[in-house]
């Protein structure tokens, strides 16, 4: 009776402002998140990024369960504060951008 079809959420993740250095200098990533009982929130995505995409120095990107202060998150070009910050539920085809504002400009 239960559906066993695995649904995926496809999202586009970008890193800029220097954050890409922690991801092998790759700025853009196409990510497939497998669907399960819990919805994918930004909080869950950060854990996933730390375990799967981050190549080095996790303390420079995440701090406890949120992103390090100084790194902005934009969800579909809107400030993440306007969509619920860590609790925002990620939809299919979302575009999430991490911009580092640390170390000058």
């Amino acid at each position: 009776m239960a559906e066993s079809s695995q649904q995926h959420i496809d999202i586009h993740v970008e890193f800029s402002g220097g954050a890409e250095l922690l991801f092998d200098k790759v700025k853009e990533h196409e990510v497939k998140l497998s669907h399960d009982n819990n919805p994918w929130t930004i909080r869950k995505l950060l854990v996933w990024i730390k375990e799967n995409l981050l190549k080095e120095r996790p303390e420079l990107f995440v701090q406890e369960d949120t992103v390090r202060p100084g790194i902005l998150i934009l969800v579909n070009d809107a400030d993440w504060e306007l969509v619920g910050e860590l609790e925002y539920e990620i939809q299919n085809k979302d575009r999430i951008i991490f911009i580092s504002t640390l170390h000058g400009g």
Binding site: G17, L72, N76, D77, L82, K93, R95, T101, G105
Partner: protein
Amino acid sequence: MCQITSQNDVIPKEDCRLRYPYLSIIKSVGKSCMKCQEPATVVARLHDPFCRNCFLVYFTHRFRATFGKSKAVRNGEKVLIAFSGGHSSCTMLHLVKEGLAEGVHKKLRYQPGVVYVDENVCLEQDKEERSAQMRKIETWLKESTFPSYVTCIEEVMSKCSPGYRLISGDQSHDSEDGHDNPPTENSMKEEFKQLLENTSSLTTKEDLIQKLRLKLLKQIAKQLGYTKIMFGDSGTRLATVLLGNLAKGHGETVHQDMSFLDTRGEEVAIIRPMREFTSKEIALFSHQCCLQPVFIPRISTKASRLASIDTLTEDFVNGLQSNFPATVTTVLKTGAKLTSDEETIGKRHTCVLCQSPVDSSSSASSASAATQYSMSLRKSSTVYSSSSSEPEAACEVARDNASCCGEGDESCQSAKKNEELTSADLSVVMCYGCQVMMRDVKSLDRLPSSVLADVQRQKRRDEMRLEIEDFLLDGSEEG
């Protein structure tokens, strides 16, 4: 759809909504723009939601108002823009270009130029990456349509004036200016590297690079006839600098380090128009305008938060700012109230590194006097013997040397050239903060020759002043 009126001349011609079709499916938590009630996309200032267009208008208006209010830049003045490739610099350059574009209402007409300082010598990069970065930088410089120059940080070690490369469009400085130099000689690169290797802590390295970069920019601005330099330091960066400077001993100069107009130094002043914005607002603006900043790693880029005073302070300010958005404005407003004693400024020397006033008149009971005393006790007699050597004795030694001028009046430079710089000398020619920094530099002779020359000149001047003190008319005696 927001109305685009003729005043909204900063919206890029390309409609960015075509690039970002997802703007329409934002699930807002019920916030609409405080100006036009459209769905908000950005949270700026404290907790003010703005839609994209209103944010761009607000940002641009704030930038222009900062200029207008301060009246620091006059019509026709030549202003050099210090460009580093990051978010702040790109945003600033973009706004300057938009502000001077044709058809803009009430524009302030000044003449900008752009300069980029290549710091590859501090952190050697992969050749391919470096050329890719330089290409992007040069694209930015050429697209600005202003006269643009590229120089290298090691040019500050130059014995004559620093060299630079013209990238584009300066009609008045064509071929007659012999300083359009090809890439630096390797000797200056080596000297600069040795200077950095002689410092043990990252704090000192960062501080030294920053001070020497500023010195180089001032020299170049003076050479090219620019009277002001524009820096893109954001409010967040300045708050970090302020708190960091207090920790490093530069407390006397905090006010000038973060003010809009910094008039230390005789001919070239500094303006900081981006100080009204937090780094978040700047990054959002640059993203909304689809600018493409160039990220160039620096020596502290992947450093841990405890690696230097600057990294720790930055971590502190950013952390506090994320929970209390009024942090940066509060720190800056407090810093603006800290000014030094105006009365004694005219009588002081200026520091050879940072052109701040040197507090040589500090009383015997001050903290700095106590520190000097305990340091001199620790180092015992070697410090005193070299600095108190008789001028005639030094000349005596040099008399055998054919280059001595034979005047016997301290104007002889042959002996003085070979004198080693001691920390006692520094207390007269450097401000307290720079002295503290110099304690970490093992060999003071590795400093750029222009700095050493300034030190010697100041010393000779002081010694001469001491000689003729009795004959000088003190202003207060005039009846």
